[in-house]
Symmetry: C2
Subunit: 269 residues, 2 copies
Amino acid sequence: MAQSVLQSGVMASIAPPPNSLVPAADAVEPAGPAFSPLYRQIKGLITRELQAGAWKPGESIPSELDLAARFKVSQGTVRKAIDELAADNLLVRRQGKGTFVATHAEQQIQYRFLRLMPDDGGARDMERRLLDCRRTRAPSDVARMLECKSGDAVVQLRRLLLAATRPVVLDEIWLPGHLFKGLTAERLADYKGPMYGMFETEFGVRMIRAEEKIRALAADRPTAELLGLAPGAPLLSVERLSFTYGDKPVELRRGLYDTTRHFYRNELN
Amino acid sequence: MAQSVLQSGVMASIAPPPNSLVPAADAVEPAGPAFSPLYRQIKGLITRELQAGAWKPGESIPSELDLAARFKVSQGTVRKAIDELAADNLLVRRQGKGTFVATHAEQQIQYRFLRLMPDDGGARDMERRLLDCRRTRAPSDVARMLECKSGDAVVQLRRLLLAATRPVVLDEIWLPGHLFKGLTAERLADYKGPMYGMFETEFGVRMIRAEEKIRALAADRPTAELLGLAPGAPLLSVERLSFTYGDKPVELRRGLYDTTRHFYRNELN
DNA sequence: AAGTGGTCTAGACCACCTG
DNA sequence: AGGTGGTCTAGACCACTTA
């Protein structure tokens, strides 16, 4: 349990160079950040703990003073590390209670990744209907995005999301097979709550960020049929690549949205 | 120039309540934040200065120590206020040089609000072609979004964006007439650099954040003609409402994007 | 009352930029 | 050399939650 000491409290001590923890670059670092402050190194250590599963999603992590003592730094330095992790949505602070590992299983952030809103501002709850769940081999395009080899084992899901009995979203989901061993249609159907919550609790795979490519395209015949639309109807195509710790891609999701009564909401800052 | 003193350095002094600057709520505040820390009040004061134009976009603001002395607080408190303003993209910090008022006129952040990327990862620079620029009266739907009265004076622009001579974006832009008095087709055509940069320097209107509603729809005949597409071709519809200080809406932009060779890029955190 | 995160201060020193 | 933002510490106290 004992954590390695980073460096003595005062950075000015003469013997060690300013960054004792930073592995000395082999030769000349072309673009790497030449300097990593203490709090960022602490952030890295906390991230490692999270990645290793030392603290489960939804649980609280040790208090700031605990961590400060463990890492032999001041509370303020731990604080700044946690601040960044909270800004990255890896941790959630709750005044008076503690700091908690963020989770997709909570109601309030259930739709953090689904930006579709109904025009009338009504309820966002949608019925899920699983169409397919099969284990297969990764096509080359999927393999490239998931950074695995073409032909590697993958799980392919297809499902519909319905708002008030009307189909709105057709999702096709690709997952690395080795991370989702026991995933079956039954388990998916039985699970209550958001899919990303299930990935966390059942498979220990936590999505922390995603990149989306959005386009408009015309519905082909089978898609139109599934969504109850005319062939050629315009659809929003959302290709999402989700990453877990270490920027490792762990899900490719291709969604087709009927935006007749819904829209994709985005905010620019 | 003298700034009002917020409160004495130590919050624990007995006579004044913890928040001397917060206007005492008339009665019972239903949802308002009951407590506003010092640094947030400082943030408000700095925001007011920005809004009033005391410091122009691109210029530097006073140093942290200057501001700390002016507001009679510690540097750390000013620092935290500036941290938030930088996170909001109102200020930009540059180590060793100072803190600067953010601007849309810089090359590096020219495309902060345009998320369209070419499939081949090529250059993002696009040719602009102005189609219309007329002063007219706000239709009711535009008026509602711009929070003015139906029939109020507005400026309506339409323009094309072309990538390598091929039209890709058709924009229709609505601006409150009273804020953009001297805006003409000539001035628009003559201006080099991003349009939001011109709004800043020529009209003192700075866009701070925006909300977008994205859908897919079929091109009507005139749109298809302008974009060189077949009628009914699927287009990405991006309706953007932009806000300036005080969450005041100052631009409504309706864009139609041809996503055959481009996509709209989004990141989820 | 005790524990947690949140705020504020004061001072020291580091990294970066400009004369 | 001097100024600016950036990091780190130590200590005090406030606000919120729980027991």
